[in-house]
């Protein structure tokens, strides 16, 4: 394997206070060693298999396939069932991998940020498993809208640190986690929850999430004898998307589509779709990438019904894949995501996370000549029930 990338084209880098630079170097070094160490890999694989439930299933969604097929055109939709992982999302792949890495580095205290609470729950779970201290930073607005996950984290023994700054969402939680890390860097490992942040994080998180695509590629080849026409995933920071894309990047006939949050609509400015909107790139949370910012370079607040997509930044590798034309990024509104949420629930008996519902809207409602789609079902939606009910009212369900 090559060394850890610091740049993806012009994106990425390490825009952090000097205090953290030695810790980033230490983390990179630890990862370079661990990823080739049979001891680490065996332990990781055992936990992913027996604790997290990997490999996750590949499911042929019969009724969704029917729903998108017409008389003249049949399309089959497969779902990569990350929702069936222990803790209910893809986040566990990364959390376990990084917690094991932290243990090897001799760090006993873990911090994490969370939006939807799924990464917080995954980190709290990994820490319970390995007997480590865990503090999760979470915006006050997200604490309100993802209550069940807050209670889960507390039950797992984590301390949930509320963050009131800004809009009380993922950006603010991430900033506060980084500040904690600057202060406690000697004792603490920061498990960042998406493919964002300073190098080596975007690469580290991708390496730990690429299991999604590696499995799915083999599974779909076995089932269909061919690769999908399209791979579709939602993008908050971009970890489930880069996780499923990576195995297919070298297959030029497979279209890669990342679905961001359009919130109230791209024109409203109230969205979380920096990759889709484009414009000048910027630095947020330690890396250069597509960001939402004003003309001055002040980072603006994102808006999405889905806490996990409510983020003004994006993973640097996605910005690069976009510029290369290798992946395409689109955005889906709150209203459309809610509709897809109920459609998938009713047609398949699967309640998807609101994040994933964005990817579903695109797969189900945008016309396409694709005959074989692979959708990353990044997580389950139990956490979102209260919020969906609040928005839709019982009769609309």
């Amino acid at each position: 394997m090559t060394a850890v990338e610091h740049r993806f084209g012009p994106y990425g880098g390490q825009y952090v206070p000097e205090t953290l630079m030695p810790a980033l170097a230490e983390l990179e070094q630890a990862w370079v060693v661990a990823r080739d160490d049979p001891g680490y890999l065996e332990e990781l694989q055992e936990l992913l298999r027996d604790f997290a439930g990997r490999p996750s299933r590949l499911y042929r969604a019969r009724r969704l396939s029917e729903y998108v097929s017409g008389p003249a055109h049949a399309r089959t939709i497969y779902l990569k069932r990350e929702d069936l992982n222990h803790t209910g999302s893809h986040k566990v792949n990364n959390a376990i991998g990084q917690a094991l890495l932290a243990q090897r580095m001799g760090k006993r205290r873990i911090i994490a940020e969370t939006g939807a609470g799924q990464h917080g729950v995954a980190s709290a779970t990994a820490c319970a498993l390995l007997g480590m201290e865990c503090v999760v930073f979470m915006g006050t607005e997200d604490i309100r809208r993802q209550r069940p996950n807050v209670e889960r984290m507390q039950l797992l023994g984590a301390r949930v640190h509320p963050v009131e700054a800004g809009s009380g969402t993922l950006k603010d939680a991430t900033s506060e986690a980084i500040r904690d890390w600057v202060t406690n860097v000697e004792s603490t490992h920061y498990i960042i929850g998406s493919a964002v942040g300073p190098a080596p994080y975007p690469s580290l998180v991708r390496d730990l999430q690429r299991v999604i695509g590696d499995e799915a590629r083999a599974q779909i080849l076995e089932r269909e004898g061919r690769l999908p026409d399209r791979v579709i995933a939602c993008v908050g920071g971009g970890s489930n998307a880069i996780g499923i894309f990576t195995a297919f990047v070298g297959d030029p006939d497979v279209e890669l589509i990342g679905v961001e949050a359009a919130g109230d609509g791209l024109d409203s400015g109230r969205h979380g779709a920096p990759l889709t909107v484009g414009g000048q790139s910027g630095v947020l949370h330690g890396s250069m990438s597509a960001v939402m910012q004003d003309a001055e370079g002040q980072i603006t607040e994102a808006h999405s019904i889905s806490a996990g997509l409510d983020y003004p930044g994006s993973g640097p590798e996605h910005a690069h894949l976009r510029d290369l034309g290798r992946a395409r990024y689109v955005a889906v509104t709150d209203v459309d995501a809610l509709r897809a949420f109920t459609t998938v629930t009713k047609l398949e008996g699967i309640i998807p996370a609101l994040e994933t519902a964005h990817a579903f809207h695109f797969a189900l409602e945008e016309p396409s000549t694709s005959t074989l789609d692979l959708v990353c079902l990044s997580g389950r939606g139990d956490k979102d029930l209260a919020q969906v009910l609040e928005r839709l009212g019982a009769e609309e369900l």
Binding site: H6, G286, Q298, I299
Partner: protein
């Protein structure tokens, strides 16, 4: 985008030139900073931090002028940013308030202009605000506003070459930071690239007041920094009281930076200018 990314080739070249960079002749900004350190008449030069645009652009200028009246030798002028990762709660809150009150980079540059006639101004600005404009445009604007130096707290050595080149060309001293966690070898590489002074972070952490004496660790922190550079060493982050400022001078620091203590005074005092002048005067007295 092309203005703020550099090719691997350029990065490698910049890294390889670490040794020679130090012998760059003093730019105008660096010369003015050197002079301020040399002629402070104190055991260590006093550099208070001012949040530009807080509580309003006009009043922040008055506060900066009061720093000068109180005996400051240089001023560190902060540009408010939406996501200040190196700052603790007091400075972060002042930044948020300044942005709400309409602070912009241009208005902070006006404050800079208003202060530069009295004392050398070193701007403290997060990377994105510099990179969005482009390093050359930003450095030229600083020069036009009379600034002497620039501190970018989230621009470590590896990311700095383009900004350093632009600042050198504009006669602005790009002041790097070193932390207690910085290993010796890296400290020397940073020290060799330092312009103006070496901003030596006294604690592992963000900005913010600390009650405890600096203690014995500080002599080691300052000593290590001084051994790594030819430029003056200024100690900052957490220095709050005149006693702590005096400790820093005793430890051999050439300069002392006081931030949160003064920003809090500006936030809490009914009439900020005279209030901060008293605090600065007490710090200056401890350093004389």
């Amino acid at each position: 985008m092309s203005g703020f990314t550099e090719s691997d080739h350029q990065r490698r070249r910049a890294a390889g030139e670490a040794g020679q960079v130090a012998s760059e002749p003093l730019g105008e900004g660096a010369a003015r900073i050197a002079d301020a350190f040399a002629t402070s008449g104190k055991r260590a030069a006093l550099m208070p931090y001012l949040m530009g645009g807080f509580p309003s652009p006009e009043r922040s200028l008055d506060i900066g002028l009061a720093y000068a009246d109180g005996g400051a030798d240089l001023v560190e002028l902060g540009v408010p940013f939406s996501d200040p990762l190196a700052d603790g709660p007091v400075v972060a809150a002042a930044g948020t308030a300044a942005l709400r009150a309409g602070a912009t980079v241009a208005r902070v540059m006006e404050v800079c202009e208003g202060l530069a006639g009295r004392l050398p101004v070193v701007l403290m600005c997060y990377a994105n605000l510099v990179l969005v404009r482009g390093p050359q445009v930003f450095a030229a604007a600083l020069r036009d506003a009379g600034a002497s130096g620039l501190i970018v707290p989230d621009l470590p050595m590896e990311e700095a070459p383009a900004v350093l080149a632009a600042c050198d060309a504009a006669g602005i001293a790009l002041v790097p930071l070193v932390a207690p966690t910085t290993p010796d070898e890296r400290l020397h590489a940073i020290g060799a690239r330092a312009r103006g002074f070496l901003y030596t972070v006294s604690v592992t952490g963000t900005t913010g007041e600390r009650a405890a004496p600096l203690g014995e660790r500080v002599a080691q922190i300052v000593g290590r920094a001084k051994a790594a550079t030819d430029v003056p060493v200024a100690l900052g982050f957490g220095i709050t009281t005149p006693e702590q400022a005096s400790e820093a001078a005793d430890a051999g620091a050439d300069g002392v930076i006081v931030g949160s203590r003064l920003v809090r005074e500006a936030a809490e005092a009914k009439d900020p200018a005279p209030a901060v002048r008293r605090v600065v005067a007490a710090l200056a007295a401890a350093l004389s």
